[in-house]
């Protein structure tokens, strides 16, 4: 006898008290409760069927044995329960199907499919009240699903609740693919409530909408009979056939399809997939695609396997193939969008995800992924709008509100972002990350005092080192901008202490120290920044500048010469010009070298004829003693500055001209 799946033990039940998975929608704060799956007796069942069921429940048991799943694991468990429920449904094992689908719906409360199938299982079990409840919940997730409307109408009809049935059928009238079935239902309601005139009208309309549903002639005939039109009744009865009224019901069709060979093949692939045997899964799914080229489910499953192996481009192609067959499958649209997002193809992702939410506005995860696509393409305000739609479904979801506030910020709606973050603090209590963001937004809004208060609040509250480091750093920057360097420096130092790899902290510390004339310490800070990132030419420039100001000309010449021997890392023009200037104007006689300075300066000037370059050529001529050339270059420089209106540079330029005219070289101009 096969081992039945039987979750009766108290311990196992306890293990099944799962926290809700992180789907981005965390509205359901209560811990979901799973129910035991009734024992399924598979004695006498065909071996192939038993294998399918055994494999499916083996997967479930394995997942359950891993303890309390969270996040993606809980999502996966929901899928496994859903798949098991579908399988039981296919093989008419309804109590087990109902339990599995109940659990799937509990774990994935926003998954329309599980609610819908749960309704179907309950309906088949004759549990009509339960079916209504499940279909009602499905309807909240996908208000415009025609099959749900029709089924709700039908169940209410069977319960003798004619007004409710009429309401659902009326709603279905406007939905694509269900008009004929809606008219049929309305006709049934009218006929059962002794209104054959209305019934006849609806039956005839249904027949016009769906002429192939020749079973409708029977109902037309009975309505004629009730109205006393015997001839019309007989004429209609003559046309009666067996074809029922159809309506768009893709999930039911898929379940029906699962009862055939494709279901078994897909299951084998899914078993491999669940065991992370991606290559086996790929092989199974490729076989299925070959055997059932019109099956969207097969192509989608193949895409999933390929995605699992990281072959995203191929996966994307198969997702698209599946979408071509089933363009309105929201699950498929979502999966494809998710893949594109992960690939960084945000516009393509947004296109699929937009379609998904158009079809199923209650598909929360699709709104969230859409927001991601839009945010990544800097459509922050649209992203915020998408998150608003997701929040309508899960109003208490903190993460969604957080991300929406972030999108408000980057979309330029900083006041709105500020209010949202503050509301989050009010609703969920003190949060250091939010306080930090509030400080930054205050800065962006030009409110340094308010910003500083936020950062100080964070510092006072204490935080993990990375966050504390950021608070000190932001506070130090505010003080630096306020030229309150003495106050800035300790914050930089604390920022660095909390995060020793904070390069910007070292760099800005160097700047603050330099402002206070502590050039040696400033050079040291710049050196630390450079050590953290040797390619940072900005830090290198800060270091040599500080050293020059500290009078370390010889060291600077050596550093510059070494730097210029390095492969160009950016900034080499600047360093070369600085070397020329040091060679031409250092106060240290051992450092100066007029000919070398002149060669270097004139060479640089050939490449970049800027005032700075011209000024260094003049310095070099003066150092070689050719004051005539020095005066001529300096005069041209002054003329250019005058033409450019750079009046602030003119006093220094004229002072140098006077020196050259007096036959005096200029020394250490950087100190000015």
């Amino acid at each position: 006898m096969t081992k039945p799946i039987c979750l009766h033990g108290a311990a196992l039940i306890a293990a099944l008290l799962l926290p809700l998975a992180a789907t981005g929608l965390r509205a359901q704060t209560a811990t979901p409760t799973l129910i035991p799956v009734p024992e399924v007796d598979l004695r006498g069942v065909d071996e192939a069927v038993r294998d399918q069921i055994d494999q499916q429940r083996g997967l479930l048991e394995e997942a359950l044995a891993q303890g309390t799943p969270t996040g993606a694991a809980a999502e996966q468990l929901g899928l496994l329960f859903g798949d098991a429920g579908q399988l039981y449904l296919v093989y008419d094992l309804l109590p087990a199907a109902r339990a599995c689908l109940t659990n799937a719906a509990e774990l994935q409360p926003r998954n329309f499919r599980w609610r819908y199938l749960l309704g179907s299982a309950a309906e088949h079990l004759g549990e009509l009240e339960e079916a209504v409840e499940a279909y009602d919940l499905a309807r909240t997730l996908r208000p415009d699903d025609p099959a749900t409307a029709i089924r709700l109408g039908r169940v209410h009809l069977e319960l003798g609740r004619y007004e409710e049935a009429r309401g659902h059928y009326q709603r279905a009238l406007a939905l694509p693919g269900s008009t004929a079935a809606a008219h049929f239902g309305l006709g049934r309601v009218a006929f059962e409530t002794d209104d054959p005139t209305t019934a006849l009208r609806h039956f005839q309309t249904a027949l016009r909408e769906q002429p192939r549903a020749d079973s409708l002639h029977y109902h037309v005939a009975l309505a004629h009979r009730a109205l006393g039109d015997d001839a019309a009744m007989r004429a209609a009865m003559e046309l009666r056939g067996e074809a029922p009224v159809a309506f768009a019901d893709p999930i039911a069709a898929e379940i029906k399809e699962s009862a055939t060979g494709i279901g078994a093949q897909l299951l084998l692939g899914r078993v491999a997939l669940a065991a992370n045997a991606f290559e086996t899964a790929e092989e199974r799914f490729r076989e299925t695609v070959r055997d059932y080229p019109e099956s969207a489910a097969a192509k989608r499953s193949l895409a999933t396997a390929l995605e699992g192996m990281g072959r995203r481009a191929e996966a994307a192609m198969w997702y698209q193939e599946a979408l071509n067959l089933s363009p309105n499958d929201v699950g498929l649209l979502f999966q494809t969008g998710l893949l594109y997002n992960n690939e960084g193809r945000y516009q393509a992702a947004a296109q699929r995800l937009r379609r998904a939410v158009e079809i199923e506005p209650s598909f929360g995860p699709a709104w969230v992924e859409l927001a991601r696509s839009l945010g990544e393409t800097d459509d922050h305000l649209e992203a915020a709008e998408a998150l608003t739609r997701a929040l309508e479904l899960a109003p208490d979801d903190r993460n969604l509100r957080f991300h929406r506030a972030g999108n408000y910020r980057f979309g330029g709606r900083r006041e709105l972002a500020l209010r949202e973050f503050e509301a989050l603090l009010a609703d969920f209590g003190f949060d250091r990350e939010i306080v930090l963001l509030l400080g930054r937004i205050e800065q962006e809004l030009g409110r340094p005092a308010s910003a500083a208060r936020r950062f100080e609040q964070l510092v006072e509250a204490g935080a993990d080192p990375p966050l504390l480091s950021q608070a000190h750093f932001e506070l130090a920057n505010i003080r630096t901008e306020q030229e309150r360097y003495e106050e800035a420096i300790p914050h930089y130092q604390r920022a660095i202490a909390a995060n020793p790899t904070l390069k910007e902290g070292y760099f800005n510390l160097g700047t603050a120290l330099g402002r206070l004339g502590q050039f040696t310490e400033a050079a040291l800070a710049a050196r630390r920044a450079l050590e953290l990132d040797p390619s940072d030419s900005r830090a290198r420039a800060a270091e040599v500048t500080a050293l020059l100001l500290a009078g370390e000309d010889a060291r600077v010449r050596l550093m510059l010469e070494q730097t210029l021997e390095l492969p160009d890392q950016g900034g080499s023009g600047f360093f070369a010009l600085l070397l020329a200037e040091v060679l031409a104007a250092s106060e240290d006689d051992s450092v100066r070298d007029g000919p070398m300075a002149l060669n270097l300066a004139t060479d640089l000037f050939q490449r970049a004829q800027t005032p700075a370059h011209g000024a260094v050529v003049a310095l070099a001529y003066a150092e070689t003693g050719d004051f005539e050339q020095a005066v001529a270059w300096q005069q041209r420089l002054i003329e250019n500055l005058e033409r450019a209106g750079a009046t602030e540079a003119l006093p220094d330029a004229r002072e140098r001209l006077a020196a050259y005219q007096a036959g005096r070289p200029v020394r250490a101009p950087w100190r000015r």
Partner: protein, 592 residues
């Protein structure tokens, strides 16, 4: 006004309590009197593990007064072994009695006491001379040779048998002489006067073209071997045998037009005037095929109008797996409605009769009357409109048992026939479609301690106390006797429409009885005519006197004649003999 009084004191149960339920203020109760009454019949279906289809179909019972002593005796139909007789020891449940298994006749030695009646069934099969050893299905009890003694017509998988009641406690096999030996798989029949000549003809319902040679192995969608559904076989055509008045029958199937309709997998039949034209019609319950409504054209022709009338398919326009059928005026509007029992995951179906003169019309009122959901899980067979709580409104009884393991439970060595399901009763209360709806009585009311695989249901007043008792037959299980203890507190009266008393008593079949009351609509009942599944019930009618005055009793005979009698005495069955009442060929509506 209908009778509606405070709860009555229930008589002390003299047998094992079966169940109670409350319907409004009225308590209903059945006691399981099987053992106390000496009813020891065990049905044996001869199953051998081969899952031959007939094993699961099951047999019925007849309640009839074979000795004309004024109480109901009981005939129970037995199964047999399919396959080589020499292999019978390989049956899953061995046969422990004398070989071969036979139908049984039980005489009711009813003892009337001041403190209540005592039912004692005595097995008189041996002295009766009945040797019915075929693979039995159904039975009809009717005076087929017009001699005043009720005969038996037994439906078999194989040749049917006609047992002539000799009037001395014995029966003789008149199958061949009567021309009634239909060799097909027959399940039920209606003995009723189809041609208005006041003798009883036989409408025989045949099921499938099954034989051991055509036996098939059927699989469920999970690949389990299971009993087949009827679609695995070809339907067997029904037959109409016309009585020449002496007990000899001619096959009138072609002449009457039966062959004009597509054959159905027939399991149940009743005879009654369903379209109000005073001619006897037939309704045939077909398994997974459209039901047949044979309207009597009055010229020897039967016209099938099931589809046209709306009584062939349910409200979805689908044919259902009909097993049993009952006719009764559930909504008190004076015509006969129909109740059909069905397979699991189908509802039982109530068709309300909305016929107008010249236009028979039925409408599915299952949803509106609340009968849908409660029957969804059950596979129902025998059924009857029964006034369980003696309030004047017809309730419903349906006995259940699955026909496939898929609908029951997987079979095991210890439980080779796990098809048992609880039986059900539905109490007629105010509200719903037609102003009435049905509420399920508590489970167990018709079961006792253990549900069985129930099939036949024969309803009748076995203890002559004015309410309706039930005999339930169970496939491969014991027959059970449930006595109704919900006596009518305001008294009751009974009538027995009889065609002739010159030689014994000739009960009528399928006649309509109307009880006219002052200040209330008439109570309409059918006397005889069959119905249920493979069973035959009491040909008499009993109704509670209630708190309204009964003015007169009207009987509509099968030749269209209508006669009236004044109100009969209470607490007794009064024969209403044709020709002794006041002739009223035009019906008059009662003044309220």
């Amino acid at each position: 006004m209908r009778a509606h009084t405070a709860g009555i004191a229930v008589a002390v149960a003299v047998a094992v309590l079966s169940g109670t339920a409350r319907a409004g203020e009225r308590e209903v109760l059945f006691t399981d009197a099987t053992r106390n009454a000496g009813l020891d019949f065990e049905h044996w279906n001869g199953m051998s593990g081969q899952l031959y289809y007939p094993e699961v179909v099951g047999a019925g019972a007849a309640l009839f007064d074979y000795d004309n002593d004024g109480d109901l005796d009981l005939y129970l139909v037995q199964g047999s072994f399919l396959g080589n007789e020499g292999d019978r020891t390989s049956a899953t449940t061995p046969w422990t009695g004398d070989w071969p298994p036979r139908d049984r006749l039980y005489r009711n030695d009813l003892e009337l006491r001041d403190d209540g009646a005592i039912v004692r069934f005595v097995d008189v099969t041996e002295e009766s001379g009945i040797v019915a050893a075929g693979y039995g299905m159904g039975v009809v009890a009717a005076d087929l040779d017009n001699d005043g003694w009720v005969d038996l017509y037994v439906l078999n998988l194989g040749v049917n048998q006609l047992w002539r009641n000799e009037g001395d406690g014995t029966f003789s096999d008149r199958t061949e002489a009567s021309g009634t030996g239909d060799p097909r798989w027959s399940v039920a029949a209606a003995a009723a006067d189809y041609d208005g000549d006041l003798d009883l003809d036989l409408f025989i319902v045949n099921y499938l073209n099954f034989s051991l040679a055509t036996h098939k192995t059927c699989l469920t969608e999970r690949g389990e071997v299971d009993y087949c559904l009827p679609s695995a076989y070809q339907p067997a055509p029904d037959g109409l045998l016309v009585n020449d008045g002496s007990g000899r029958f001619d096959d009138a199937s072609v002449r009457a037009g039966l062959t004009a309709a597509r054959p159905g997998n027939g399991l149940g039949i009743l005879a009654a005037d369903l379209d109000g034209d005073r001619r006897l019609d037939f309704y045939v319950a077909n398994d997974l095929m459209p039901n047949h409504l044979w309207l009597n054209g009055g010229n020897g022709e039967l016209i099938e109008e099931g589809l046209i009338s709306g009584a062939a398919l349910n409200a979805d326009g689908e044919a259902e797996a009909s097993m049993g059928v009952a006719a009764g005026d559930y909504d008190g509007d004076g015509d006969l409605d129909l109740f059909l029992t069905h397979f699991h995951r189908e509802t039982n179906t109530l068709y309300r009769n909305d016929s107008q003169p010249g236009a028979v019309q039925f409408r599915d009122r299952t949803n509106a009357t609340g009968l849908g959901r409660p029957s969804w899980d059950a596979t129902s067979f025998g059924t009857a409109f029964v006034d369980i709580d003696s309030d004047g409104w017809l309730d419903l009884a349906a006995v259940n048992g699955a026909v496939t393991f898929a609908a029951g439970r997987p079979r095991t060595e210890d439980d080779p026939f796990p098809l048992d399901q609880p039986n059900q009763a539905f109490l007629n209360v105010a509200g719903g479609g037609g102003g009435r709806r049905f509420e399920p009585a508590p489970t167990g009311l018709l079961d006792g301690a253990t549900p069985f695989v129930s099939r036949g249901l024969a309803a009748g007043d076995i203890d002559n106390d004015g309410d309706t008792d039930l005999v339930i037959t169970n496939n491969n299980g014991p027959a059970r006797l449930l006595l109704n203890r919900a006596d009518a507190d305001t008294g009751w009266f009974g009538v027995a429409p009889v065609l002739d008393t010159s030689r014994g008593r000739r009960p009528a079949s399928g006649v309509t009885v109307r009880v006219h009351r002052t200040g209330a609509t008439p109570l309409v009942r059918v006397a005889g005519g069959g119905g249920s599944y493979a069973s035959w019930g009491d040909p008499r009618v009993a109704v509670p006197a209630g708190d309204t005055r009964v003015g007169r009793i009207e009987v509509q005979w099968t030749d269209g004649a209508v006669e009236e009698w004044p109100a009969p005495p209470l607490r007794a069955y009064t024969p209403l003999v044709r020709g002794t009442g006041e002739r009223r060929d035009e019906r008059e509506d009662d003044a309220p």
